[in-house]
Subunit: 246 residues, 2 copies
DNA sequence: CGAGAAGTTGAAAAGATTCAACCAGAGTGG
DNA sequence: CCACTCTGGTTGAATCTTTTCAACTTCTCG
């Protein structure tokens, strides 16, 4: 009974009762990952997909010479392991960025559910397409945006993603990333991220201390980062209700 | 009877005869796009997905201030429009990089085929996952690789992708991109791409003239770009045969 | 042959990185 | 309870890669 996942899929594809029931019937096992920087390799090779229930994680790639690129940030509601489920092959490396609670669903159970529920399949497919959408937006950031723009853009993205799963409080949210991790996500050096964050603070856009980020002027920050939310495919409450009642 | 698409899906998921028949029964319409730099917007809003039969195209994003980032290069066998098919919403901008022949399949026909063929669904899903895989690799390139490494990496990628659809001839293949377009794909300036290509030529890695690229020392180029092919999910002929006979 | 697009070159400037040192805070052990 | 250590954050200066600008060349094609 992974309500997180049901909510996520529902927001993408508006499930009906049969489909919800099918989802609720999936066997779920909760798994805990204790601290930061724990590789999830062992969890990922055992034929389960995982939904993040609490905490943050990231996919990353290490280059032979030690450089690291963070490929995506994973927040509650995000699904891990669909690539392996569908395509097979190697998992990208994933590591926790905080303590995590995961919901594990056996691949076989999911497989048979999908056999008979094309709409759930499309909903899950959608989650991977949203992931790709985000990857592409990161490509734009890293490829064409300046340092300040990049940071601004990422913070806006995270704010909306977390808001969608009700993890923002006013304009604040938990952001337990070190500046080094931000740098690896943004394709910048740690030092430069540091200076860029100072810039944003000095100009009153954000407060960022002890793992909490507060955005003071979202619209200005969004303008600065040339941020436009549609690539996240988050339906606001109005749209979602409309979809459900139709 | 889109053999291109069947071959593509088969290489990802090994279809059986029923599934092939289903695919062949899809109504296909061939469409031509005459030259370079033609936007495909009109083709994409009319409820068809398209498979590239011949020619090159790319997805891109323009920023408000005129900067452009190319998000992916599309070669024969690649599918366009699955995001819209599954998720709805806006298409990313796509433009031709050469004359194109497209195979158009009506969304409705595909939709009903997928309702009853979960494996075809998973195969199509796979194509979007491979796209994402490539996006992520580009993220690594743009985020962490130097200019030479990036160029080397991209050329290796293209070589293998085109080889997979039998469009390489020896170590040569058609690469009808301008240096400006390469720059937009790689997150570099045109000038710098120019100098980088000269570097690669001077060191005997490649020849690149009149739209044809020749790679003289693939392994060296791959080493230079820290290229490793698995993210492309191209099965070589041996693996494919094994999958079919199983 | 002429015009426009693409490629090439050099020099100056900008943005980001690197290096190295230093500071602040959290957690540990004596 | 306090020094001690470790991690993460901050600072300055030098350096490097890449960009920008502007001019010039070469190629392509009508």
């Amino acid at each position: 009974m992974s309500e997180r996942l049901i909510a996520r899929l529902d927001s993408l594809m508006a499930l009906n009762d049969t489909e919800r029931r099918g989802m609720r019937a999936l066997p779920i096992q909760f798994r805990k990952v204790s601290g930061r920087n724990t590789l999830l390799a062992d969890k990922l090779i055992d034929d389960h997909i995982h939904i993040i229930d609490e905490g943050y994680a990231c996919r990353f790639r290490d280059l032979p010479d030690g450089r690291r690129q963070i490929l995506s940030l994973l927040v509650p509601g995000d699904v891990i392991g669909l690539r392996g489920f569908v395509l097979g092959g190697l998992h990208p490396s994933i590591t926790s960025l905080s303590a995590l609670t995961l919901q594990a669903v056996p691949n076989v159970s999911l497989f048979s559910l999908l056999e008979s529920h094309p709409k759930i399949t499309r909903a899950l497919w959608s989650t991977t397409l949203v992931d790709e959408s985000i990857s592409r937006e990161w490509l734009v950031s890293i490829g064409k945006r300046s340092a300040v723009e990049r940071v601004a853009h990422l913070l806006c993205e995270l704010y909306l993603r977390l808001q969608a799963v009700a993890l923002t409080d006013d304009n604040r949210f938990a952001l337990p990333l070190t500046q080094t991790e931000l740098a690896d996500a943004l394709g910048l050096s740690t030092v430069h991220v540091n200076r860029t964050l100072q810039d944003l603070r000095r100009n009153g856009f954000i407060t960022f201390q002890s793992g909490t980020l507060e955005i003071h002027k979202f619209n200005d920050l969004a303008a600065l980062g040339m941020f436009s939310a549609n690539y996240l495919h988050i339906r606001d409450r109005r749209q979602r209700n409309a979809a459900i009642s139709s």
